[in-house]
Amino acid sequence: MNATAATPPVRRQLQTPQPPASAFPYHPGSLLSVDDLSLEDVSHLLSRAAALENQDPLTRDRILLKRRIALLFYESSTRTRTSFELAAKSLGADTTLVSNLSSSIEKGETLKDTGLTLRALGAEAIILRHNSSGAPWLLEEATRLPVLNAGDGMHEHPTQALLDLRTILAHLHNGAENVGPDTLAGITVAIVGDILHSRVARSNMLLLPRLGAHVILCGTTQLLPDSAANAGPGISVERDFETALRKSQVVMMLRIQAERLAGMQIDLAQYKEAYQLTGQRLAAHAPTAIVMHPGPIIRGLELTAGVADGAQSAILEQVRHGVAIRMAVVERALTAAKGGRA
């Protein structure tokens, strides 16, 4: 047994089993990841968002009249939940909210069983917010209903990326709806803060470079591993906040996700010193950039109250765009042709 240890030879070129291409065909109305959308799909959603926003509310509510949509929320939410609900109701749909704190989920019901129950109750689509990455795939596989990912763990938040895109286009491209691979060419977007725990960061870093933008991720090594630069094309890591600011036309600030730190200790004074977006920093290094934040904002931590309320802030515009984008996404969920992947 002991005689066989030898120096490993030069690595051979070996044929190895390939990973599976895709687990299962999605419902074409589902939106689980920004990767599910072609740029054509994105353009279509942007133009439907604009059309629906401007449509007479009295005709708009015929689109999904009395269709049933369930909102299944395993985490607290203000913006996402309310805007999805308002969006669905604007189209005439009936919505029902199931949250983990006031349902059988508290008694131990699994996501699969909760999903099947909602389907038996007549839900035609489920909007899911969940604290576990990947949960929407489980729900879709169990129910085969259109599932809209309203944020899964640390993974993705695709409608947030779409509404962020609409906000960016409104500022830099006069609200263009038709997007292609060069639409955001020359634009640099800095995403700053707790990247590791942020699903907003992941969806944006996957979507925006496909339109030609460059994404700079900026934060401490604790909250931003070096390997993040390999998450996709058009992404780089910059540790120095002011350098990142100087290069960017768009600055997305993220909150530190205290609920996901899992024992990680962060020196907040040091953090603010290095990464807080202050009026001085903004004026000195990015005086024309738009300042975005997916919310909830923690005033005085990742950004100062003055910046949040200042002239460069687009934070409340983002919220407004959220309703329009979610109208388009909900409409797609219930009107997409069945069969095959979208």
């Binding site: 066989t4 990973p19 489980l138 993974h155």
Partner: protein, 433 residues
């Protein structure tokens, strides 16, 4: 007991250095005689198995399985787990102690081996190293060995305290038992559900760094070195990282008795096989990077790896149909090991058939000192697998004999079809006609 003759087959017995057409007479649970084709002396009244065109080899031995009994029969029983073993060509399995209760007593060790369990293969219990596998108080190894335990381990609760691990190695050596370590520094893997790295980042999952494995392997090797006792045997379970294999390779070069095993999923799959949160690709240690996977292949080909072991870990379907980070670790492996080893190690990567079979029988038997197993030399146990080494077939999880359907290899092409498995002279599996 009736006699059984296997005739017309090609015997490959790497332990005995045989690779030739042979007829075999099995009698009273032992190998009675081996002879050239048609040359057996006494075959009167013996039942005959026609192995023409097939390979005959020592029954396979898996030194790392979870049979879930006592306590978790809804996942697997000793009867169903060993039925799956038999279907996969295995005639002996070493069962891990993470049962409920933990197997830390001679009573449980004996209970697992009782004929009432209905086993289709020989079950060798591996007992817990410490009481309740809590890593504090060392068990009575002499008593456990007397009851039939072949090694000690705390498996999924690796021994982190240096003092306890040192004492475990020393105490096991005194009674002639191996110490098996599931190498994972659990202080570095809290809340993690896959390998750390870019894929974990992209999927938004917390990662287990490779150093959590290699760090413990290096620590354990240091302890073995310091003990300066040639009886000490450290066996590293399911090695998954390049650094861990490198540490074992170095320890061996330094003359230490340190061995390791690799599971088929670790030499075949990478973290990319998790795809979109496939819980049947979740196990511990996790699927690693392509570089780590390549190092497992390299370690097998260059001989530093001593055994292929499956880490067969059945779970109920409903337990795996949950969020990825909430799903239990583990996949089944007994029915797919031979088919994957022949398809990939042998056909694709050109490891000679005799060496593949050695990694699945002679070497694991030697590693745990399983006397009379892993060879078909006259007088050995009549543990035989008879298979068609060229036949291709498709594995279907729903047809498994295990209670667990949790495998990433459902629908995969296997090479090498088991026709018969014989355990101590008894046919425990025959290919359905």
């Amino acid at each position: 007991m009736t006699a059984l003759v296997i005739k017309g087959g090609h015997l490959i017995d790497p332990g005995a250095g045989v690779d030739a057409p042979k007829d075999i007479l099995l009698k009273d649970g032992r190998v009675a005689e081996i002879a050239g084709p048609g040359k057996l002396k006494t075959t009167n009244g013996a039942e005959v198995i026609d192995a023409s065109g097939l390979t005959v080899a020592p029954g396979l031995i898996d030194i790392h399985v979870h049979l879930r009994e006592p306590g978790q029969a809804y996942k697997e029983t000793i009867a169903t787990g060993t039925a799956a073993a038999a279907a996969g060509g295995f005639t002996a399995v070493a069962a891990m102690p993470n049962t409920a209760p933990v197997n830390d007593t001679p009573e449980i060790t004996r209970w697992m081996q009782s004929p009432e369990r209905g086993a289709s293969a020989r079950v060798y219990p591996i007992a817990a190293a410490t009481r309740g596998s809590k890593g504090e108080t060392i068990n009575d190894f002499a008593a456990l060995k007397a009851a039939g335990a072949v090694a000690v381990t705390d498996d999924g609760h690796p021994i982190l305290k240096d003092s306890v691990m040192r004492e475990t190695l020393a105490a096991a050596a005194r009674v002639g038992l191996s110490v098996i370590q599931h190498a994972e520094d659990t202080r570095m893997t809290h809340g993690a559900s896959m390998n750390a790295g870019p894929t974990a980042f992209r999927l938004g999952l917390r990662g287990m760094p490779p150093e959590a494995e290699s760090g413990i392997v290096e620590r354990d090797i240091r302890l073995v070195t310091e003990l300066r006792d040639t009886r000490v045997h450290l066996h590293v379970a399911h090695t998954s990282t390049a650094a861990a294999v490198a540490a074992v390779r170095k320890a061996r070069r330094n003359g230490l008795r340190v061995t390791c095993e690799v599971a088929p999923h670790h030499f075949l799959l990478t973290e990319e096989h998790i795809g979109l949160y496939n819980t049947n690709a979740k196990m511990n240690p996790p699927l690693r990077s392509a570089a780590d996977r390549d190092a497992m292949i390299e370690g097998i080909l260059d001989g530093v790896v001593d055994a292929i072991a499956t880490d067969h870990a059945p779970h109920a379907t409903h337990e795996k149909e949950v969020e990825f980070e909430n799903a239990p670790n583990g996949i089944t492996g007994l029915e797919t090991a031979l088919g994957l080893c022949l398809r990939w190690l042998h056909r694709e990567w050109k490891l000679p058939l005799g060496r593949v079979l050695s990694l699945l029988s002679a070497q694991p038997a030697a590693l745990l000192g399983l006397k009379g197993r892993g060879t078909l030399a006259a007088g050995s146990f009549a543990d035989v697998v008879i298979f068609d080494p060229r036949a291709e077939w498709t594995y279907r999880a729903k047809e498994t004999r295990s209670r667990g359907h949790n495998t990433p290899f459902d629908g995969w092409t296997m090479q090498g079809r088991v026709h018969w498995t014989i355990s101590e002279g008894r046919v425990v599996y025959s290919l359905p006609k």
